[in-house]
């Protein structure tokens, strides 16, 4: 559905974009900006300025800026969203809850405000409310992965509470509330910035097919994913982020195939040119992997602290691999070297250790 965004001034060329999610809204804004509307440029400047203030840690100033902007465009969903995020980051939870709640009322199609409401409720240990908000987010956008993930955390917490009641353990002391992922879509953090109070999730712009082709300026300059800024300027980083998000997807799919013991998908994640370490040939290595993976009743492979460097059609993914199975729990540093071939990123080298 097309969200009602009457106050969002858009050049006529952009009106045909169907904005099914906030992300796309942001992306569409980028696209529109790239089309060179003066009004949009001005608007983008306002967002960029708020963005800059936040990155500089000047949250109060950023808030003043959003209020100034909203005084003239009170319905603007993006600025209101930014305001809610700033309020959250400033610890003004009650204000942030009001901001996001109003956003859900005015723009019930957007999943992100529901998600962030859930983050706030969860931080207050109001898990039932958090759950309701996340279910709304998912109803709005059924493939909204962050909301699913957050909902998983909330379910786990609710389950833990139910178990504590079942076992008559002290329910007042069940640990800290889970930290859910806050969507800060218009903000980017640099890897050098201070740790944010909440787990930060960058949302990569999904550039609609209508986007004009951009030149791969950034290709020669590896960009670290955490630093990938999503700004109002549709320049190289967005493209680099694209390559990075593809590599992330590939790593994610590899970890998932391994977790699911889907040998076909798992082995398929490795390029024909893959060289096993230790001098094994490919066939022996595959047999070894099958022998290690198939008999397990449960395997979980989690990828943490992922950093991806893309250099043309080659990429390096470094991460902390948390492996759990029915027999083993182990965390280790892992590096995967990947090559893009036929539109897919395939693993050519896998090494453990830093």
């Amino acid at each position: 559905m097309l969200p009602p965004t009457p106050s969002l001034p858009q050049p006529p060329a952009c009106r045909t974009h169907r904005l099914s999610s906030w992300r796309q809204l942001a992306a569409a804004t980028l696209v529109c900006v790239s089309l060179g509307s003066t009004a949009a440029w001005a608007q983008a400047d306002e967002y960029a300025e708020v963005n800059r203030l936040v990155r500089a840690g000047q949250l109060n100033e950023a808030l003043v800026k959003t209020d100034q902007y909203l005084a003239s465009k009170p319905r603007d969903p993006q600025m209101r969203f930014m305001k809610g995020v700033i309020q959250t980051e400033s610890g003004k939870s009650a204000d942030a809850i009001i901001t996001f709640t109003k956003l859900t009322e005015d723009f019930p199609e957007l999943p992100e405000p529901y998600n962030n409401l859930a983050v706030l409720y969860a931080s207050q240990s109001q898990f039932d409310k958090a759950r309701a908000a996340l279910e709304m987010a998912i109803r709005t956008n059924p493939s909204y992965a962050t909301a699913h993930e957050n909902l998983g955390d909330v379910y786990a917490k609710l389950a833990s509470q139910a178990y504590s009641k079942a076992l008559q353990l002290d329910t007042n002391n069940t640990g800290v509330p889970p930290k859910l992922s806050l969507i800060r879509n218009v903000f980017a953090t640099t890897s050098g910035s201070k740790a944010p109070p909440l787990a930060v999730t960058e949302v990569k712009p999904v550039v609609p097919s209508a986007a004009p082709p951009t030149t791969p300026v950034a290709a020669a300059k590896p960009a670290v994913i955490a630093a990938a800024p999503v700004t109002a300027t549709p320049s190289a980083p967005a493209v680099a982020a694209n390559g990075q998000s593809e590599v992330q997807s590939a790593v994610s799919a590899w970890a998932k195939a391994w977790s699911n013991r889907n040998m076909e998908a798992y082995l398929g994640a490795y390029a024909p040119a893959f060289v096993p370490t230790g001098g094994q040939n490919r066939r022996a290595w595959e047999a070894d992997r099958k022998a290690r993976i198939v008999p397990r009743s449960r395997i979980g492979v989690e990828v943490n602290d992922l950093s991806v460097q893309v250099n043309g059609d080659r990429a390096t993914a470094r991460f902390l691999q948390a492996y759990t199975s029915d027999t083993l729990n182990v965390s280790s540093r892992k590096t995967l070297e990947l090559v893009k071939s036929g539109g897919r990123w395939l693993i050519v080298r896998e090494s453990t250790g830093s």
Binding site: R23, I138, P142, S143, Y144, A145, T146, H148, E149, L151, G152, Y155, A156, L158, A159, S160, Q161, A162, Y163, S164, K165, A166, L167, Q168, L169, S181, I183, S191, K194, A195, A199, V200, T201, E202, V203, K204, V206, I225, A226, S245, Q248, S249, V251, S252, A253, A255, K256, R298, E302, V303, N304, D305, L306
Partner: protein
């Protein structure tokens, strides 16, 4: 800087696994079976093999895989006694956990238990979302129903991860409360067993040779199954002049989960934390306002130690049927100091129905269910003996009458010689009038001895009021002899 990035977070790729999405259906089923294997379905493996119209192939598959905790529990519960009257015994019927069976059984259960079983049924039918909704409602209504909370925890986890076992708590929780966890699983197992092993329609526990119409209700407890059965006595007020009565006509109107003593059953001595086995009567109803919270919504003391207990030197006192404390909707199968503990709503139902002095409470290791006609021969045989006793007492033949009393006779420490003057006085007071026996109940307790607990109204002819007598007759050298006698 310790910044964590999980691939699963904030990633908007379309290929991302989304829990609950249609593509996850097969995984969901696997997950579901993880719970049902342990919790529910194995119970019904026999029924799946037997029924052609089984509609849960998925469940059937899991049931066939491996014997679960419940299966083995059931195996150990099946009657293993080889009875001398096997032909008369009908035993419990295996009843599948089907909708039709539940519709029949649920009205008998406590409401909370019926809802819990309904949730199990939904899990079995692969309806985890509906099950979750019901579990949340149940936990909301009864936050102190720990078993419901455990099931709720599993169903919540089931939304996002496989549940490996019933009560799939975190390791830390399992360590911190290993006993509670084990007890909850046991409670669940017993509740399920009671639901799938049903007394056949019209069957009665073998103790009820005859039940007077003055006993409007009767209670029978199967300690092994943690189950209390409540009967309504449908017997018409009919006995002939001899006091002869027909078979007990009892209708099962409720059955509830109960807890017994921490150390189990077969109480022998004060403080042994065991629940007595035998035939008892409710002696009073205690005001819940004056009871500590531990006893919940009320208490019904029973007459432990009874005449047989006294003869055997069993000691202790204060055995009650009572409710549950506010923090626990239901207690572990073995939890009390010897009392029989019910959930408060169930106890309240008992309070509304049973009556002091006339409601029998049979507490057995394991109840034997029989057709009422199966007890005819025993009852009629005894009624001949009782008629003989009545005739001798009516005629004032004290010498012959005394032969019906056992040398082991005892009443509150009095031997037969010490007691006999009372019998003589009764005969004297009655004069020439014949003795009538009214409202006869005969309850049989079979352990190392064969004992009848006989209750009746003893009224002299032409006299308006008599006394209610209770006698314990024990089979000695194939003759019934009175080992205890007293007014109730």
């Amino acid at each position: 800087m310790a910044r964590s990035w999980s691939l699963r977070r904030g990633h908007a790729s379309a290929s991302f696994p989304t829990p609950g999405a249609a593509s996850q259906r097969p995984a969901w089923l696997t997950v579901l079976l993880g719970l049902t294997t342990v919790a529910v379905v194995t119970l019904s493996s026999w029924w799946i093999h037997q029924r052609a119209d089984d509609t849960e192939p998925a469940s059937g598959h899991s049931a066939a895989e491996s014997p679960s905790l419940i299966t083995s529990a059931l195996a150990s519960m099946r009657p293993s006694v080889t009875p001398e009257s096997a032909a008369l015994r009908v035993g419990l019927e295996h009843q599948p956990l089907s909708d039709a069976a539940l519709a029949r059984t649920s009205p008998l259960l406590g409401q909370a238990e019926a809802r819990l079983i309904g949730i199990y049924r939904l899990i079995q039918q692969s309806k985890p979302r509906e099950a979750l909704r019901e579990a949340e409602a149940l936990a909301l209504d009864h936050p102190n129903f720990q078993l419901a909370q455990l099931v709720l925890g599993d169903l919540l986890n089931l939304q996002t991860r496989p549940v490996k076992q019933f009560g799939d708590v975190a390791d830390t929780q399992a360590l911190a409360a290993a006993k509670q966890l084990q007890e909850l699983r046991e409670q669940s197992r017993r509740r399920l067993a009671a639901l799938t092993e049903r007394p056949p329609e019209g069957a009665v526990p073998s103790q009820f040779l005859a039940l007077s119409s003055s006993s409007r209700h009767a209670i029978a407890i199967d300690a092994t199954r943690s189950r209390l059965y409540l009967f309504e006595n449908a017997a018409a007020r009919s006995s002939d002049a001899q006091g002869r009565v027909s078979a007990a006509q009892m209708k099962l109107i409720a059955d509830y989960y109960i807890s017994v003593g921490q150390a189990g059953i077969d109480k022998r001595s004060e403080g042994d934390l065991r629940t007595p086995l035998g035939i008892y009567y409710i002696t009073s109803s205690l005001d819940p306002e004056k009871l500590p919270d531990l006893y919940g919504s009320g208490a019904l003391p029973i007459n432990y130690p009874n005449g047989l207990d006294a003869l055997r030197g069993n000691t202790g006192s204060g055995i009650w049927l009572h409710g549950s404390p506010s923090e626990q909707f239901a207690r572990a199968p073995q939890a009390s100091e010897g009392c029989v503990v019910l959930s408060n709503p169930d106890l309240e139902n008992l309070l509304a129905l049973v009556s002091v002095r006339t409601t029998p409470v049979i507490i057995a290791t394991e109840l034997q269910w029989v057709r009422p006609e199966a007890l005819n021969a025993e009852r009629e045989g005894f009624q001949t003996t009782l008629a003989h006793w009545r005739t001798l007492k009516s005629a004032g033949d004290l010498a012959k009458l005394q032969q019906l009393y056992s040398p082991r006779f005892e009443n509150q420490g009095q031997t037969l010689a010490e007691w006999w003057p009372r019998v003589e006085d009764e005969v004297k007071a009655k004069g020439d009038r014949a003795m009538q026996v009214k409202d006869l109940s005969v309850l049989r307790w079979l352990d190392q001895d064969d004992t009848l607990v006989v209750t009746f109204g003893e009224v002299a002819e032409g006299v308006r009021r008599g006394v209610t007598k209770r006698q314990y007759w024990m089979r000695e050298d194939n003759q019934w002899k009175i080992i205890f006698e007293g007014a109730v």
